[in-house]
């Protein structure tokens, strides 16, 4: 039985689902949180100080190139946070794991802040470089809509009283919003009239940003990814405790 690959795969899958158990999640996330937080702080400090103090100016953009260390990681996390919410929402819809729904809820404010940072730093960069704070460019517009989706998603969680119904409705909203999350990633490729340049980073392209800018950018991206991870762990833990608190209070009222 143990040698049967299907059974082995099944038991591995089963152990993955154990993390959906709130108790197990609290245990594991509690152990991981300090590491994630510490590593994130380290990468952010190194990446941003390196980028801000120790990189040269770009020959065309001058010192505004330093904004890349905030703008690109924030924009990347704005999109990926929504995609993480999409995955956890689907897990909720299909397998009804409460921790999964709560993780999606916990991630939304983090994603919103990332989206706003991307929009604000983009505007600050765009003013001197493009001569305008804002343009109705496909990528910028889909990013603005993504920010509105984050707000709507958070509002919907607050507005619906029944927790399971709220999780259902927000999950469906998340599915719809994914169109804009993906559009903000790929719009630049098929809408030629956009102002925004193509991807700054890609593994298959010949022309990338120069190494002097690239290395601190990678460290900064790692910092933002870890920051997102640490904040989602912390906030999911808070959501689980809130749920338990609500259950205890209801029981008290009954008894």
């Amino acid at each position: 039985m143990q040698d049967d690959p299907a059974a082995l795969k099944y038991s591995r899958m089963k152990s993955l689902w154990e993390y959906a158990n709130p108790k197990k999640f609290m245990q594991v996330s509690g152990a991981m949180l300090p590491w994630a937080a510490g590593l994130s702080a380290l990468c952010l400090v190194v990446g941003l100080i390196w980028g801000f103090f120790f990189t040269p100016d770009d020959y065309r953009q001058g010192s505004t190139v330093k904004i890349i260390y905030l703008h690109v990681p924030a924009a990347l996390m704005a999109i990926n946070a929504w995609l993480m919410m999409l995955v956890t929402s689907l897990i909720w819809l299909v397998r009804r794991h409460h921790v999964s729904a709560l993780a999606a809820r916990a991630a939304a404010p983090v994603g919103l802040v990332m989206t706003v940072i991307a929009l604000v730093t983009g505007a600050i960069w765009g003013q001197p470089m493009w001569g305008t704070w804002w343009a109705w460019d496909p990528r910028l517009t889909s990013f603005l809509i993504l920010a509105l989706f984050y707000l709507g998603y958070m509002a919907l969680w607050e507005a619906v009283e029944n927790a399971d119904t709220a999780a259902d409705l927000t999950s469906v909203l998340c599915l719809v919003g994914s169109v804009f999350a993906l559009l903000s990633r790929y719009a630049v490729l098929f809408w030629n009239q956009g102002l925004h340049q193509g991807a700054s980073l890609s593994l298959d392209k010949e022309e990338n940003v120069a190494d002097v800018f690239y290395h601190p950018l990678l460290v900064s991206i790692a910092g933002f990814v870890l920051l997102f991870f640490a904040l989602v762990l912390l906030r999911t833990r808070t959501e689980i405790r809130k749920r338990r608190l609500q259950a205890l209070m209801n029981r008290e009222r009954m008894g």
């Binding site: 001058g62 904004i67 924030a74 808070t238």
Partner: protein, 53 residues
């Protein structure tokens, strides 16, 4: 030892300031909420234990 940011000093500095303030705010808010819920849960659980035992 602020580097010479040239004519774009205001733009670069404000981009960093706004972003860092927003990140710090998010972390602070998340930590505060966590501490609050944790304390409340502890209080209710202690009360229940007193009642039951």
């Amino acid at each position: 030892m602020i580097p010479d940011l040239g004519k774009y000093a205001a733009e670069v500095a404000s981009a960093y300031a706004v972003s860092l303030v927003m990140i710090a705010g998010l972390v602070w808010f998340s930590l505060r909420q966590s501490a609050k819920v944790r304390a409340e849960l502890r209080r209710i659980e202690a009360k229940r234990e007193q009642k039951n035992g």
